[in-house]
């Protein structure tokens, strides 16, 4: 049948590429409309309307913003290190998007006789009858999210401006301290699951009609992981690297035009990824009622859960003021890390006796 590459028919590759494209475009659209949703939700929480002019109820606002940023003047400060300055937004943006590769957003669907797992970096082995994905998926995500900080630090350093440098320094200190706590928080999940493969972690949460979530077994870890992730992606109340009141705009002070837009896309893409990861680890991923009968319900549940968590992010942003720097460090090192360690020990003891 048709052309074969490496023993697999052409249709298989087309289906795989289509899957990647659909997932990627969907993430991009979500990123674009997350800005709109954020402005709308925060607006209504502050008893305002939010964007209303561009299109019906401001629905075209992200497109207008994109076009505006695209046509703005590109400014490279004369004292900046040009190469690092140009490369920094890319280093921030790319890890934000490629983390999505290992997150399973659905079960196995059948297209034209081929079984396709709804996870970008995964394939369905027909002989074994199971899905194989990266067996250290979570490590991959942690690695990529810590790569993202290089973009921010580099941006702060290359701009050659004191505000940018302060923003970059804060970003690195904050990310390192909160990554520790986030990593320790999810260790308790691995103690329950015994695997780092995200696909298997999701499968393990499919009991009770798709409600055997790790959130119920590890509420403290879920809470800590979510908060630490917020800190890691520099969202309010932990947005110290770009604290407008103190640092003008932090690491992106000197950036303009599309490069500035890239930092923003990276920030929102990180938010999507973090919400997706929290969903996968603690909210049962794409599991839900009736997913076995209707495989396409999986992505729907997954998207609903991710959007709910994104709403919580925006809700938190609308509520809480920014933490002071020493409070941030105190929270990270003196609260979250010890609590996460205790959580691991308690999980270990319970796991040993039960």
């Amino acid at each position: 049948m048709g052309i074969e590459i490496l023993g697999l028919p052409m249709m298989y590759y087309i289906a795989m590429v289509a899957k990647v494209l659909v997932a990627f475009v969907f993430v991009l659209l979500t990123v674009a409309y997350a800005t709109y949703a954020e402005r709308k939700i925060i607006g209504h929480m502050q008893v305002r309307l939010g964007p209303m002019r561009t299109g019906w109820h401001g629905l075209l606002q992200p497109i207008a913003d994109g076009v505006k940023l695209f046509f703005k003047e590109e400014i490279i400060p004369s004292q900046a290190s040009t190469f690092a300055f140009l490369v920094a937004p890319l280093i921030a943006l790319i890890p934000a998007f490629i983390t999505f590769a290992v997150i399973p957003f659905g079960g196995v669907i059948e297209v034209a006789g081929y079984k396709i797992p709804l996870q970008i970096a995964a394939y369905y082995d027909t002989a074994a009858g199971q899905v194989y994905d990266i067996n250290v998926g979570v490590l991959y995500i942690l690695a990529m999210s810590s790569l993202g900080v290089y973009g921010i630090v580099l941006a702060g350093w290359a701009s050659n401006s004191k505000y940018s440098l302060m923003g970059g320094l804060r970003a690195s200190a904050q990310m390192i301290s909160y990554e520790l706590a986030a990593g320790l928080a999810i260790i308790s999940v691995f103690m329950l699951s015994g695997t780092l493969s995200l696909n298997k972690i999701v499968a393990l949460q499919s009991g009770f009609g798709g409600f055997e979530w790790y959130l119920f077994k590890q509420p403290l870890a879920a809470f800590m992981f979510f908060i630490c992730s917020l800190a890691e992606i520099n969202r309010t109340p932990f947005d110290l690297p770009e604290a407008e009141t103190e640092l003008v705009s932090g690491f992106c002070t000197e950036y303009s035009s599309m490069k500035y837009a890239m930092f923003f896309m990276a920030e929102y893409a990180n938010m999507v990824t973090v919400c997706a990861l929290t969903t996968t680890l603690f909210l049962g991923g794409w599991n839900g009622p009736l997913t076995a009968a209707f495989p396409l319900l999986g992505p729907v549940y997954f998207i609903a859960k991710v959007y709910f968590l994104m709403f919580v992010c925006m809700w938190i942003r609308a509520t809480l003021p920014r933490y002071r720097y020493d409070q941030l460090m105190h929270l990270g090192w003196k609260v979250f890390i010890p609590v996460a360690l205790v959580n691991i020990v308690v999980t270990g003891i319970i796991g040993y006796f039960v």
Partner: protein, 133 residues
């Protein structure tokens, strides 16, 4: 103090506020309803198809911003009237003292508040522009 409770209380408040009716006024399309006693652009009252003003000079005298220019003249009936009545809106502070001072109730303040213009000269409102329609 327990640090979680205030956060939860705050989150509750923001969530409740999300369902309140926004107070935003979509300005150019929606118009604000100014109060009865709003002090906007001045208006010269008209009676028997001419301005009630008798050019007594009380308004330029009381004006703290010195923005009113009045010149008196005599009409065909030998009545005193204001041949020139100008208010410089760039200087006016909209205090309403001129309205209070007027002995013949010839002056009022309208609800008109969109007073932007392109040239400085356009801000000096002449008698014709101030007469109430």
């Amino acid at each position: 103090m327990n640090p979680i409770t205030p956060i939860i209380n705050g989150m509750k408040i923001t969530f409740k506020h999300m369902f309140l009716k926004p107070v935003t006024l979509q300005y150019p399309t929606e118009r604000p309803k100014v109060s009865q006693r709003f002090r906007g652009l001045h208006g010269l009252k008209v009676s028997h198809s001419k301005a009630k003003c008798v050019a007594c000079y009380l308004c330029p005298t009381v004006c703290p911003a010195k923005c009113i220019t009045v010149e008196a003249a005599e009409d065909a009936n030998h009545d005193k009237y204001a041949s020139v009545y100008e208010i410089d809106m760039l200087r006016c502070i909209f205090c309403g003292y001129c309205v209070e001072a007027c002995p013949v109730d010839a002056l009022k303040m309208t609800g008109e508040f969109e007073l932007a213009n392109y040239h400085r000269q356009d801000f000096i409102y002449s008698k014709e522009r101030l007469l109430e329609k």
